[in-house]
Amino acid sequence: MPCGARSSRGRPVSSRSAGRATRRGIPPVSVSGTSTLVTHTGSWKYIWPVYHDRVAPCNRGCPVGIDIEGYLNLMREDRVADARRLLLAENPMPAVTGRVCHHPCESACNRGMFDAAVSIHAVERMLGDLALQEPLSDSVAPRRDERVAVVGSGPAGLSCAYHLSRFGYHVTVFEAASAPGGMLRQGIPEYRLPRAILDGEIERIRALGVEMRCGVRVGADLPWERVLADFDALFVASGAHASRALGVEGEDGTGVRPGLAFLREVNAGARPSVGRRVVVVGGGNTAMDCARSALRLGASVTVLYRRTRAEMPAIADEVEEADREGVAFAFLAAPVGFHVVHGTLRAVECERMALGEPDASGRRRPESTGERFTLLADTVLTAIGESPDLDALPPDLARRDSGVRVDPLGRTSRAAVFAGGDVTEAPRTVADALGAGKRAAVGIDRQLRARPREPRDADDLEALRFGGGNISALRWLGRDPVARVAPVNEVVTFEELNLNHFVKVARRRDTHARPERARATFDEVNRGLTREEAEEEARRCLNCGVCTHCDVCLIFCPDLAISRNGDGAYRIALDYCKGCGVCVAECPRGAIVMTREGP
């Protein structure tokens, strides 16, 4: 560099190359000659994202095996008719379960940890009611030659009959009572489940071609062996109708009666006299139904329960409604005797209990304290549980104390005999019974077709389940109607959601009749949500684990490597995806995962 190069303005001293560059006209900013498409950033990646739909916790939580997330998503897309079809494909009685199910789906709902669980039961109920008002014509599989007998027309029997009928079988349902419905009709009061609703849903099952023979008690009116000879398979779902005894002296005497017998009478339309004061013993749903029915007959009612409110097995909403309507509760108390004067029940002798160590059920065990007190009572209704009448079942069925032993597809120890619902050891809920009926239908179909889909039963079954929950009839038929990129049977946890993309929205509350009016009649108490409210509520669904084509991945991709196909699905341009994982981190619902293997 010569000395003279340094001027007052500090002019540059050109080397030859720099001089040439300047003469070529270097722009002030570096600008590429073309777009960045020439830069294949995809070569940097060693892991990359894959769209990977998974299972929402509600679906796994549902004992019926309903694709809840699926139908809520269809609702969000304003495809209400498709939502009804998807719901009805798995659940024959949504208007019933929308009213009486204990909705474990809502307990499992991830949204519960965000603001409040989606009111799934109310959406289901609205769809169920809509299906009754405006029936959709639905095709069923071609008819088959085999005939299946179903004994018992409660939720398990009806569910099995419904699905078998949709699978193409001739189904005959035998019912000992004069009308079908089992415990739905005999046990659940009208103020919870109006008979028009129940009749409507049963009618829909009948309309599929299911034959219903009521007033026939199989085993008594018709020998089991005759049924087994006439049909290719048998599903026993005769329920649990025997009220458990208290084991207290005098319980067979005047004024003391099984709650279930009382309910059966009330639910048949009778209005038995119960006197002014009624004491109900027990903390389950039967106890709540007895208490609220007795209230409607004009009595003042006290529920006697040996543990506390927290341990009550009844649905919490039922307890709350009973409380609101004026049912009194005596917790930590058990009956020990009855005061009968001149042949008339006057009072119940009770003992105070205290909670001890947890028992096998995980609840704290009630223990005697020796302290006594007396409750005045004209009628005592016992509701401490029901058992199946195992003696009335076909012979040679393996059983345990609490019911018939079955495998997950409802198979008993006897060939071609299946069982489900309360007659087995399953949890005694409507939803579990509906789910058992569906599993047995699949088991029967599988057996009758003699075509196991997989060599091993367990694997076969797992593929049909919603993430370890109940099985899907549509998956069994190979007709899952909701397009899923890669259905993976794992449940998405709350932690896998990206809550930044969601805003808090209050859960819509069901409308209830005012307690003072409700307790005066057997009219339905819970009026549910309007169609508009239910549609809004469905939009609260976070669609855990399932791509809703929300475009968040597309927007956040720093390489613009994500685009939408004509069918709305996303395409990742692997030439440009550099495997940064931003889409996975940003996906609101955990529907994308990073993988080393690729799609």
Binding site: R9, P12, S17, A18, A21, T22, I26, P27, P28, V29, S30, V31, S32, G33, T34, S35, T36, L37, T39
Partner: protein, 386 residues
């Protein structure tokens, strides 16, 4: 329209009158009021700008770079740790020749945690390629905010407007807010020379090989060299339209001075007061306010300081291991003056972390400069109690 407003709101008003189109900011004391007011203006419709909320200052500047590349007039404001967190993006803004304007409220850096004024945050961004303008009053803040866009867009360089924490940011002063119509005439909408175009997609800031990188830096240097002349023209227009002028550098009562103070920011106002008093007492003393730190106003400073016996530079900042940063730059500017014209430069570090620089502190500086025949080998720290 005259209003009594704080310095932060003077910034907001300046940005509003300049009709900024994109604002991206992250809150930090003592700057937050600037963008709060702007977000209000966006919300109530008095400013038609896109306000982008971001998760950090780094992203705030990144968003401004994107907006500016797309041809928008972009603005942000920050302070202290927010500014130094932006550091990488400051290079992107300057190297990419994006005429972004940013207000930085001078605040000391931690630790120890401190929210008061100090110039080390902006001075530590000296070499990022931003024009830096240090203001003395709220009026100057507002006027400079508008001028900054015109300057930035004329030379395609980003401009940082700097104001002292609390002494300006939170102190209310009467400020004349110019008419929008007049400002529109002064500052027409931006016409970007180079901007992103979806119809002809290209990448900005692409790879540059050694055979061209240096030329790009040279062009940046050339643009910096244009700044004083452009600013002078802009200020001439402003003076004509609004009756006010500040200058990249300002001499105050410099006539026949034996001692000149070199100041920046609000210390200048206090120093003016002391100079006036001492002039009344017959001392030949004045001051030189340095408003523009980058590009450094070497020529102007040489013109004002040549031939003065002693110069005392007041630095509300320090380059640890060296000294006051304005003092260093001043010495460097004067170094090759003929020895007879070259003043002795006395450097003083004071007022760090918001410590008050009162008239008596400045008196102490002046007295000490008068007493010492030679400057100390190192700059003197004023008022330190070790």
């Amino acid at each position: 329209m005259r209003q009594v407003i704080v310095g932060n709101h003077a910034v907001s008003w300046g940005a509003r009158l300049a009709r900024v189109e994109v604002i991206s900011a992250y809150p930090i004391t003592p700057q937050t009021q600037v963008v709060e007011k702007l977000s209000e203006m966006c919300a109530n419709g008095t400013l038609a700008a896109r306000f982008i909320k971001v998760e950090s200052e780094h992203s705030a500047m990144a968003a401004c770079v994107g907006a500016s590349a797309a041809g928008a007039r972009a603005f942000t404001a920050t302070s202290s740790h927010g500014l130094v967190f932006m550091h990488e993006m400051l290079h992107w803004a300057a190297g990419g020749r994006h005429p972004i304007v940013m207000a930085n409220v001078n605040r000391a850096l931690g630790p120890g945690w401190n929210i008061w004024t100090d110039q080390n945050d902006s001075l530590s961004q000296r070499d990022t390629g931003w024009v830096q303008l240090y203001c003395e009053t709220n009026q100057e803040v507002l006027d400079t905010a508008i001028q900054a866009f015109k300057l930035a867009e004329a030379v395609d360089l980003p401009v940082m407007l700097v104001l002292d924490a609390f002494y300006l940011s939170h102190t209310a002063e009467p400020v004349d807010i110019p008419d929008q119509e007049m400002v529109d005439r002064f500052l027409p909408p931006r016409t970007a020379r180079l901007k992103l175009d979806v119809n002809e997609p290209r990448a900005f800031g692409a790879l540059v090989r050694p055979d061209s990188y240096m030329e790009m830096r040279w062009l940046q240097q050339e643009a910096m060299r244009e700044v004083p002349h452009v600013l002078e023209r802009i200020e001439a227009d402003w003076l004509r339209m609004f009756g006010r002028r500040y200058g990249a550098i300002e001499g105050y009562r410099t006539e026949d001075a034996e001692l000149l103070l070199v100041t920046s920011g609000t210390v200048t106002s206090t120093a003016r007061f002391v100079v006036d008093r001492r002039r009344d007492e017959g001392e030949a003393i004045g001051l030189v306010k340095v408003k523009m730190f980058r590009p450094f106003p070497t020529a102007g400073l040489r013109r004002l300081l040549a031939g003065v016996a002693r110069v005392a530079v007041l630095d509300r900042n320090v380059s640890p291991g060296h000294g006051g940063i304005f003092a260093e730059e001043t010495r460097s500017a004067l170094y090759d003056l003929p020895s007879g014209d070259r003043p002795e430069v006395y450097g003083y570090v004071l007022g760090l972390g918001g410590r008050d620089v009162t008239p008596s502190v400045i008196d102490e500086v002046i007295d000490r400069t008068r007493q010492c025949a030679q400057p100390e080998r190192e700059d003197v720290w004023v008022g330190v109690n070790p």
